[in-house]
Amino acid sequence: MSGSASAAIPDSPLARMHPIAKIVGICSLGLSTIAWPDFTLGLLFILVLFLAAATAHEFKPFAKIMLGFGIPVTIMLLFIQGCYSPKNTKTILDLDFARMGLEGSLYAAKIVVTLMVFLGSFYLTTKTTYMGRLVAALSQVGVPSKVGYLILASLNVVPQMQRRITVIEQSQHSRGLETSGNIISRARAFIPLLGPVVLSSLTDSQERGMTLETRGFGIKGIRQTSYIKVQWRRTDTLFTACATLLFLLVLAGSIMSGMGIVPLGIQWGGRA
């Protein structure tokens, strides 16, 4: 899976960027959205993220996941918070059974926008980063190699187990296991399907453990080398600096507006 994923990532500025710089970017965008008093800055960030997705040749799947997540959650939250938030005082829409309040709706908008910024930047990062590079970069900055192994191994093991479970499903079918019908017979099919996968994977893990031990995985006090080298370039420094600066400016701006020193145009009152 990881091998084919690395080939599938198209070359783009985002794909060439250092993974750590991207993580700094996620944190900066997300925290700035939280710190800003209303939802307008978040909307701007979402627009920027869409542009970034277009440059990374990921526009279609990106739009799909943003809308697929964004629309249901917006409806849900507007309904729950907008109609039933205890903070509501001003009514903006009178439905038959409930009144939609201004404060709750703005709170919902703020949450949705924050979520979308986090979701979008996170999605773009995972789609434009080869996991091997991410793990190599993480171990460069001092994350233990065992943690790196765990992430990569999970990514490898899961598709392998999925293949195994299709084989087991077919063989249990041929022995007459019912996997359709009413809910009780479907629930009863669960253990005959899961049991063999679990037990065979456990014996597999034993072999894996021995293989790793013979190759010196558990050796302490030695700096392990990495097959993949990730270079930190000047643009990464520039990007990280800009992201940090942006967050600090937003934080300063929202603190000042909160204290009433600098009024920020129109206040939408989206703060919780």
């Binding site: 729950i80 187990m161 099919a189």
Partner: protein, 256 residues
């Protein structure tokens, strides 16, 4: 002094053997979720692996496994799952310590594990849902239930907690039951290599007796087949040796 030994105990749980188990357990967690969606069951069942690993290698490994499951889910499926890592980690710890206290040997203990796990998950997951997401995530049917309850009760926190409790009681009950069945089926020679406190002799004897009672005849047949395969292997190796001898002989001849 005490805290030092505590930390050392935690470090001791992370042997290479336990570390390779973690990806497997993450896989089991995800497979549980996939299976329940292919069998069209209205559940998550995404804590089976965490519970099994809690029985095998201890609470902290289980906690790490829960964290990784959510990290993985957020990498491949939807980043919405990331904050719920909190509840997975806490559940791993709770189940791990309850197993360590020996509660997974008796049926009433298993029920206690179920209730504790459901309680912890309800509280933490509702906190995350209310404070991070404002009441609903929109990724599963629970959000619809929450919305319905909000209409009925006019209170966001209470409706989130009650819908989450309903869902968790059913889901964790089945999860813990399946994990219990799986752990009972793991062969004892496999269990004994993870030198965890709870796999002491009495439990192993227990499992042994169970096996004896219902698998007497199958054991006999296994023994028979073992001797048969031994014999077959012997003859096979002999023939291979013979073949080797002849081939080396022939090559020697060729050299000459």
């Amino acid at each position: 002094m005490k805290s030092k030994s505590f930390l050392r105990g935690i470090a001791a749980q992370f042997s290479t053997k336990s570390l390779v188990l973690i990806p497997i357990a993450v896989g089991i967690n995800l497979i549980g979720g996939t299976l329940s969606s292919t069998l069209k069951l209205p559940l998550f069942l995404d804590m089976i692996g965490t519970t099994v690993i809690a029985c095998l290698s201890g609470p902290w490994v289980a906690a790490l496994c829960g964290l990784l499951t959510n990290v993985f889910l957020s990498l491949v499926a939807n980043p919405v799952y990331l904050p719920y890592a909190l509840s997975s980690v806490l559940c791993g710890l709770v189940v791990g310590y309850m197993v360590k206290a020996g509660l997974f040997k008796k049926i009433w203990g298993v029920i206690l594990v179920w209730l504790a796990c459901a309680l912890v998950n309800t509280i933490t997951a509702s906190l995350v849902t209310v404070f991070v997401y404002g009441g609903a995530t929109g990724v599963n049917g629970t959000s619809v239930l929450t919305a319905a309850l909000v209409v009925a009760m006019k209170n966001i926190v209470i409706s989130v907690v009650s819908s989450s409790m309903l869902e968790n009681l059913v889901d964790k009950g089945i999860t813990v039951f399946i994990a219990y069945v799986i752990v009972r089926r793991i062969p004892k020679r496999f269990l004994s290599q993870y030198a965890l406190d709870d796999t002491d002799d009495d439990e192993l004897d227990d499992i042994d007796e169970d096996d004896d009672s219902d698998e007497d005849s199958s054991e006999m047949s296994v023994k028979l087949s073992e001797t048969a395969t031994d014999h077959a292997e012997d003859t096979a190796s002999e023939s291979v040796d013979g073949h080797d001898a002849t081939s080396t002989g022939s090559s020697n001849q060729g050299e000459r």
